[in-house]
């Protein structure tokens, strides 16, 4: 059974102030290097996970899984397979984001059937839709496919945590095989990202600049200058 939309997500920060708008989040967010030991309240972590789980995925297959590491001993274990970065053990919460390359084949039928029952798709053509989906996804590099999808959900989680006023650090510095071994992640799992969540212990790192749009955005065709404003 799939779940209905959550209805009890907090609409404000824990101190009652409004969520930080996404423009401020994206402009003010910096990757946090040092965290305090202040815990992330259960309702905030729950909102981060449940809102992240609302991310879109192809065929609604949701090939993402998340291991939430909060125990101090486990965070030290994670640190050891994450190039010994101190923030991994410091942050009160580190989410290990995993993409599953195979499991979606087993849940496809359920997801498509329930989607059809909820009004998306023809209940009589679930088997046909499933065959099309399996053929389409199997034609891609499934490691790429689950990485892409999992990053949608992780990005949503990061932005949600920041909207609730918490600090985050997305990390790609880890030994995937070590993380899999230490946290019992199945062979088919791709360790995509670590996301630390907590409170920064010191002022943010300086803003390091971004390529101006002219260098990364093109009009109509790759290489054609973008000059919209």
């Amino acid at each position: 059974m799939l779940a209905d939309k959550p209805t009890d997500i907090p609409r404000a920060r824990t101190d009652g102030s409004p969520l930080k708008p996404i423009n401020e989040v994206l402009l003010e967010r910096r990757a946090t290097n040092k965290f305090t030991d202040e815990e992330v309240p259960a309702e905030v972590l729950d909102a981060v996970l449940r809102l992240g789980a609302q991310a879109p995925s192809g065929y609604n297959f949701q090939p993402w899984r998340f291991v939430v590491v909060r125990d101090a001993e486990n965070r030290r274990r994670l640190q050891q397979v994450a190039f010994n970065q101190p923030k991994v053990a410091q942050a009160p919460v580190v989410v290990i984001a995993v993409g599953m390359k195979e499991e979606w084949k087993e849940t496809a039928d359920e997801v498509l059937r329930e989607g059809a029952q909820r009004g998306a798709g023809n209940p009589d053509k679930v088997e046909q839709a499933k065959q099309g989906a399996v053929q389409f996804i199997s034609g891609m590099d499934t490691a790429l496919w689950v990485n892409r999808h999992t990053m949608i959900a992780v990005t949503a989680m990061m932005l949600v945590a920041e909207s609730y006023g918490y600090d985050t650090a997305p990390m790609e510095g880890f030994d995937a095989a070590g993380v899999k071994r230490e946290f019992a992640i199945p062979e088919e799992g791709e360790v995509v990202c670590l996301l630390a969540i907590g409170r920064a212990a010191e002022p943010d790192k300086p803003y390091t600049g971004r390529f101006p749009l002219e260098r990364i955005v093109f009009a109509e065709r790759f290489g054609e200058p973008w000059r919209d404003k």
Copy 2:
């Protein structure tokens, strides 16, 4: 030269109403199947692109590029290499998100040097930092690496567009070789995602449900039940 933080991003929707908070965006967003021909205002598209460009990336290398397709003829051309999905030609804006597997090596020096000048890192150790970064990234599957990164920026763009009150459709249904050929994307480019932006022409598709957290979130160790609330 990298750019400073943009300071003139609109803080409200074009009608003056506040941006939609991220909790509402994530709960209400549905992939749009039919778009009207109403254009996306230049200031909204600019905000989507500039805020998306603020996404984090490893070493701040920003290996993402975006081709913004608005010309009707080009949208039809894109539709033809996107499994003929009508929404590709209908939506007033379709962003082709591309991850570049090689270009970051050429810009690494500039990015790290300017980062150090802005206070992140030691200006005397840029060459050393660059060697470490090149070694680290080259040790990964760079196709995976740029796919992950590009999805952070695309996800941010999608959520920003929705915050400004527009509708979106992220798409993975395309022939990557065809998209590259038709839009002059270099050999090293990975076509990661298409993002259509505009106004929905009909009510949203029904909500198809999501796996409950118990099925996708684990406590401390993969497979260990999550029961936080």
